[in-house]
């Protein structure tokens, strides 16, 4: 049979099987109302894919392939909002961190040369990371590189003497990377000053100098201008006066005739010139003096007065001159003279007044400008002087509050009674570079993000931090909601925990640090707080360091006393001003004198550490049990889980990676609220008396009346006696 015969289907000759087949196929070809595809196409696609790829155990993963092919079919090319993967935060962080990896491109090679020469405070973190990794402590290497680069940027931007990666504290939302730094001597204060100024008005000392110079220059110019103006005024006035007099005289002479002319001209000229010269000299001297006076300050009036005086003088001179001329000419020319005189006086006065007024306006404007400049300069100087010595505001605020409270008490004496409870004196914080504030700490949430400097720690923050147990959130400005209330926000809490952890867990091999021998004698009495690196330190064998006796490790951070300070502060401060009460006070205070709190001394060995609930405070170990001869000594703190230290030859380092919480064998229970206040002791003076009964009242009234009557009678009797006398 050939194919040609089989293919044509006879009309109506469809066999039953073929019918079934067609039915099934058309069913498989039915498109889904939801997705629009049909099973027939899908199966052929899946089978095609399987035959193309030929995976093993295809029957097991058939569903997955089917699912896969469905999914690929429906991925739309168009970018809808839903399909777009939001990688923005990842990209944003990568861009922030890229800055760490870029090097200053301006003078690349010079930088390298300089970096090699200058001793940098940046530690070799990768080396330390390597040692910690041997002991199974630390962070990712990539993360450490990022931290290292972040520390480098910290070193580049601040004048630091010493930098260390302190550790990482986990928060519930973000984590903190903590850097421990020491500023170079004196540079910290400068930096703080700069920071503060840049916050307020961005004043710089150079700016101030420039302003002052500018003001002086203006002043000088103003003085010169005033002097010039005054001189010009005077000269103009004199010249005008002389010219007018001469003109008048000439006119008069012409009118009178030639005979008198020569005499008059001679007389008038001589007199006028002489007088004019004298006046000019005087006026110049006066003007200079006036100018100097003006320069000193603000006195517009002086100028005006001076000028008025000048004007008066000139006018008088002119009058005198004219008078002389008049006397010389005598009566023959009286009529002409009088007319000339009037004209002369009027002209002189008008001209002089105009000149004076103009000059005055100029002078006033100049003086006003000078005054404004001087005032601005003075204000700027005042601002600088006021701002610069400003102390940290918290203390001031606190002090002010204290004062205000005191004032209120005095003022409202008659008001509702106030409790006489006085809070115990707040323990003052330790100064920068001493005690718990010996080091400065910077934190950031991610390496590459800006470092934030933590505030100094206050003793009461440490004491409260000891009483509470809170997770950090990762936001420095987050409030710390706790009982007892924590004074400050999370940055203060973080700083307090850092201080506690540092004091408890920073250790070094015995002999690495030693006390300064020179200072030793001076500070014999008090606890010594200063030590130097021992140059002769040879390193302690690893096996001895890993010995459970722990005698070869010492604390190199001062212990924090229960008070919250490293050095004890006497809360009973004697008032040394009151000499009169001195004896009384001594008697009173002697029983109250508190005993100073004491803790382990600096560089005390770990053997003195207290046990933590039946277990030693530290767990020493070797990094490797298999190759002990090349292992390093590691020590883990059990008191602060997460604090570790390693030592190897002359190297050692401490690190903390954890939640920042102290280990307690017992469960935490917050301190109980203070006891309820006692009631006022009841006594007769505050007991309510019973109301008198009506009978008692009546009896009292009767008694009073009787007494009154008796008194009246007595008086009357006395009066009668008086009258009798």
């Amino acid at each position: 049979m050939s194919e040609g015969e089989a293919t044509p289907v006879p009309d109506g000759g469809v066999t039953g099987k073929e019918k079934e087949f067609l039915k099934a196929k058309s069913y498989l070809l039915t498109a889904s109302t939801n997705t629009g595809i049909n099973l027939y196409d899908h199966l052929s696609r899946v089978l095609g894919k399987i035959l193309d790829e030929r995976p093993d155990n295809v029957v097991d993963i058939f569903e997955d392939i089917s699912k896969d092919s469905k999914r690929t079919k429906f991925t739309s090319d168009a970018n809808t909002v839903q399909d777009k993967v939001d990688r923005s935060t990842e990209v944003a962080l990568a861009q922030v961190q890229r800055k760490l990896f870029t090097k200053g491109s301006d003078d690349g090679e010079d930088d390298v040369a300089q970096d090699d020469e200058v001793e940098t405070p940046l530690p070799n973190i990768m080396e330390l990371c390597f040692f910690f990794e041997q002991a199974g402590i630390g962070l990712n290497r990539e993360e450490m590189i990022r931290v290292w680069l972040a520390l480098k940027s910290l070193v580049d931007n601040h004048p630091l003497q010493h930098v260390r990666f302190w550790g990482k504290i986990f928060g519930t939302e973000q984590n903190y990377y903590v850097a421990e730094v020491e500023y170079r001597e004196g540079d910290e204060e400068e930096e703080e000053e700069e920071e503060r100024c840049s916050i307020s008005v961005s004043f710089h000392r150079l700016h101030v100098l420039f302003c002052i110079l500018l003001a002086l220059l203006c002043l000088f110019l103003a003085v010169v201008i005033i002097v010039v103006v005054v001189v010009v005024v005077v000269v103009v006035v004199v010249v005008v006066a002389v010219v007018v007099v001469v003109v008048v005289v000439v006119v008069v002479a012409v009118a009178e005739g030639v005979v008198l002319v020569i005499v008059e001209v001679l007389v008038v000229a001589v007199v006028a010139v002489a007088v004019g010269v004298v006046v000019e000299v005087v006026v110049v001297v006066v003007a200079v003096v006036a100018g100097v006076l003006v320069a000193v300050a603000v006195v517009v009036g002086v100028v005006v007065v001076m000028e008025v005086v000048v004007v008066v003088v000139v006018v008088e001179v002119v009058v005198v001159v004219v008078a002389v001329a008049v006397i010389v000419e005598a009566a023959s020319v009286v009529v002409v003279q009088v007319i000339g005189l009037v004209i002369v006086i009027v002209v002189i006065i008008v001209v002089v007044l105009v000149v004076v007024v103009v000059a005055d306006i100029v002078a006033v404007v100049v003086v006003v400008v000078v005054v404004v400049v001087v005032v601005v300069a003075v204000v700027m100087m005042a601002v600088v002087i006021v701002i610069v010595p400003e102390e940290p505001q918290e203390d001031e605020v606190a002090e002010k509050e204290g004062e205000e409270e005191g004032d209120e008490e005095e003022v409202e004496e008659d008001d509702t009674p106030k409790p006489d409870f006085k809070p115990p004196p707040t323990v003052p914080k330790e100064d920068n570079r001493t005690g718990a504030n010996k080091k400065t700490y910077f934190v950031c949430n991610d390496p590459g993000k800006p470092w934030v400097k933590l505030p100094l720690v206050q003793p009461n923050q440490i004491t409260v931090a000891r009483m509470i147990k809170k997770f950090m959130t990762g936001r420095l400005d987050a409030p710390v909601v706790s009982y007892p209330p924590f004074p400050g926000n999370e940055s203060n809490y973080l700083r307090a925990q850092i201080a506690r952890i540092s004091a408890g867990t920073h250790i070094s091999p015995l002999g690495f640090y030693q006390f300064d021998e020179e200072e030793e004698e001076e500070e014999e009495g008090e606890g010594r707080d200063h030590f130097v690196e021992n140059i002769d330190f040879e390193g302690i064998p690893v096996r001895e360091l890993a010995d459970p006796s722990l005698g070869n490790w010492v604390h190199h951070v001062q212990h924090i006393l229960p008070q919250g300070r490293c050095s004890w502060w006497n809360p009973v401060q004697k008032n040394e001003d009151d000499f009169e009460d001195e004896e009384e006070e001594e008697e009173r205070e002697e029983p109250d004198e508190p005993t100073p709190e004491e803790g382990p001394a600096l560089l005390a060995p770990l053997t003195e550490d207290e046990e933590v609930g039946n277990m030693p405070a530290w767990t020493p170990a070797l990094s490797s049990a298999l190759i002990p001869q090349y292992s390093i000594a590691v020590i883990h703190s059990n008191l602060w889980p997460g604090a570790h230290a390693f030592a190897f030859e002359k190297k050692f380092e401490n690190v903390y990676i954890g939640h920042g919480q102290k280990y307690k064998s017992e469960n935490y229970s917050p301190p109980a609220p203070p006891p309820i206040q006692e009631e006022f002791p009841s006594g007769p003076e505050i007991t309510e008396t019973e109301d008198p009964t009506p009978e008692e009242e009546a009896a009292l009234r009767a008694a009073q009346q009787e007494a009154a009557e008796a008194a009246e009678e007595m008086e009357e009797a006395e009066e009668e006696e008086d009258e009798d006398d």
Binding site: I137, Q174, M615
Partner: protein, 276 residues
């Protein structure tokens, strides 16, 4: 955390301070393979490390085809020699809850718990001391099962329950998207469901029976006992349990990479309500 590719996966939790020393990594790569082979496990997990005062325990778990049932737990102090831990019974759990303090590092150490009881009535009451002895090995086993019970989590959809009720890895799991990964409801307690019955019918109607056969951690009490953080922007999700500090889960969004590990002291944080 699966032992396959352990040296790579352990880096994902490095930012939580969990790292292994090169020596430990090398030892684990060797010994876990042998462990898997000897016990014919389908999969071996590095479960974590429990820190003792003197020594630490490394914990590994082996699973057969069903990931839920028949898991076996091993411990080792040197990462090479593994000892089988007895499965934790209810009585062991009850007893070990009485033990206080850290693990010592010696499996044969015995914790003692002394309880005073009053015997008799009225004036005849006499204080009687009852001493319970808890072996550290038992305590270890019960703490591990407790941690598994409380905090072991997986992303939603990573495991499916097949019709035979076995729980197997979902081959077509492609990871959570970044948005999904930021929500606690997409992470499930890897244990038999306890709270599914508490859900309303309406909520249960929307569930996929193959995927939603476990409890999500969204309803955990107290709220906030999980610290969810993205590292590297959104490139890596880290979930830390605050209830069992040291338990750390990671997931790289949109990939199949996920896992969890416990590196801690083996003590539950009972102070958690005060600390949030």
């Amino acid at each position: 955390m699966e032992c396959e590719g352990l040296h790579l996966n352990i880096d994902y939790v490095g930012s939580s301070g969990i790292i292994l020393s090169p020596e430990q990594k090398a030892a684990l790569q060797t010994s876990l393979v042998i462990l898997q082979n000897e016990n014919k496990f389908n999969r071996v997990y590095l479960w974590g490390k429990i820190l003792g005062v003197k020594d630490d325990y490394f914990i590994a778990q082996g699973a057969y085809k069903d990931e839920f049932a028949g898991r076996k737990t091993f411990y080792s102090k040197d990462c090479i020699h593994w000892g089988l831990l007895p499965p934790a019974t209810d009585e062991m759990k009850k007893k070990s809850a009485l033990a206080k303090g850290r693990f010592t590092g010696d499996p044969s150490y015995e914790f003692e718990h002394v309880e005073t009881k009053k015997v008799g009535e009225g004036d005849d009451a006499v204080d009687e001391e009852e001493t319970t002895i808890i072996k550290e090995e038992d305590r270890l086993s019960s703490v591990i099962s407790e941690i598994d019970e409380d905090v072991r989590i997986v992303p939603r959809g990573a495991f499916v329950q097949v019709p035979t009720a076995e729980v197997v890895k979902n081959r077509s799991f492609e990871g959570l998207s970044v948005q999904e990964a930021a929500k606690l409801c997409n992470f499930m307690h890897f244990r038999e469901a306890k709270r599914l019955d508490l859900k309303t019918l309406l909520q249960r109607a929307n569930m996929d029976k193959a995927i939603d056969f476990m409890d999500s951690i969204e309803d955990d009490v107290p709220r906030g006992s999980w610290s969810l953080q993205f590292e590297r922007g959104s490139g890596l999700l880290t979930l830390r349990s605050l209830q069992w500090p040291g338990y750390c889960f990671y997931h790289v969004p949109a990939t199949q990479k996920y896992g969890s590990v416990y590196f801690g002291t083996g003590e539950k944080n009972l102070d958690l309500p005060f600390m949030l």
